[in-house]
């Protein structure tokens, strides 16, 4: 945290002056939840939730996203820690892949009668 004179945003957001200075729930960070459905599969994004810390995030993720044995392993990652590509630059960002069609096996001209190729 920087300067001491800056009040935390959660207290600025409309609590009465005489109420106790406890950070309300809105200050809890957002966690993204990834669930491995079963052995052999990768973790897949399942959703998100708020929690005060990683341990709570993990427990709550279990209760919210795996009530019916949907998972054998859970990852929680703070949403703030995720760096995402921007949808605006989608074209320029992914473009380099489009002009290298020789990366695909279908690009190559080979005789039809060669087996196992």
């Amino acid at each position: 945290m920087s300067g001491a004179q800056t009040p935390p945003t959660e207290q600025a957001a409309g609590t009465a002056a005489d109420s106790p200075p406890v950070a309300p729930e809105r200050s809890w960070p957002l966690w993204e939840v990834f669930v491995r459905g079963k052995r052999g599969l990768s973790h897949v994004h399942a959703g998100s939730l708020h929690a005060p810390d990683a341990a709570f995030a993990l427990r709550n993720a279990r209760d919210v996203y795996t009530r019916r044995q949907e998972g054998v392993s859970i990852w929680v990652v703070r949403a703030d820690d995720i760096t995402a590509s921007s949808p605006d630059e989608k074209d320029s960002f992914f473009d380099p892949a489009a002009d290298k069609i020789y990366r695909h096996p279908t690009f190559y001209d080979v005789p039809d009668d060669v087996e196992y190729l």
Partner: protein, 351 residues
Amino acid sequence: MYGNDVIDPNVPLNAAETAAYDEAAAHVEGRAVGEASAEGFDALIAADQRIEPRDAMPDKYRETLIRQIAQHAHSEIIGMQPEGNWITRAPSLRRKAILIAKVQDEAGHGLYLYSAAETLGVDRAELLDRLHDGKQKYSSIFNYPTLTWADNGAIGWLVDGAAIMNQVPLCRCSYGPYARAMIRVCKEESFHQRQGFEILWTLMRGTEAQRAMAQDAANRWWWPALAMFGPPDTGEAAKGGGHTEQSMAWGIKRFANDDLRQKFVDMMVPQADKLGIVLPDPDLRWNEERGHYDFGDIDWGEFWRVLRGDGPCNAERIEHRRSAHAEGAWVREAATAYAAKQASRRQESAA
């Protein structure tokens, strides 16, 4: 009795088990193909593609979704109350365990939906404030009381049944996070409706008094369940506005209220027959020409009265919700304080 007493045992019990649900789920995969060709909000909507959180979107689309998803989320968590009232009085350990699981599911549905709303840039705490202050609504159905044990059966069968009918099309909603939340919700709702049916099925094969109790519950929940589809939104009756047309164009809504209501009636009448329950509508009969059941007029006056706050339980529901939130404050505060202490300890040991 309603002109069709032959029941096909293979008919799915509810909409979450029909092809419509499977189609919606398959649609998710199908739509990913061809993504590269569409660009911009209108093009994406025209191509029946999903809009994702960081895409550009009209303000009105964002607002409409926030309002709809928030009210949906509020309905899920307020919806815990009518049945929550009966957890301590469930007639057996089996029923108690089932009821707890169902009520917990509804809490989970609320969380999925609040998460989806938050991807649109609104804070969950803010949405809860709006619910507590009466600035946002929840489904009017939860303002009716649960007077007997049979009401838990009627709610599962009729209210969750109507909810599924409304929600299956939302699995194809144009907004990705909402659609994905609805796929999870619908999957879970299927058990809700079946356990409700089973409660009534058991009562209807019990004593005279138990049958009367089941019938009474169905009598009280049938009309409010039909009203859950909302007022007519096409034809003469729709005059006076509504957001249906724009929501349809944006792919937020897929069917008119009356179409879903008709589908629901057509699905429920044979189930009522099977249960031996007489639905409380003298005008209910099979219409050969239309290929649908005709049914009587819904009392929209009552619907609007209850929605505006004048139902049997409006005040009680909000009061209970507010006090549950206030009484849980110390838990949230303790968790926050603990997290802060742990974080500062970690910082100290790292220094």
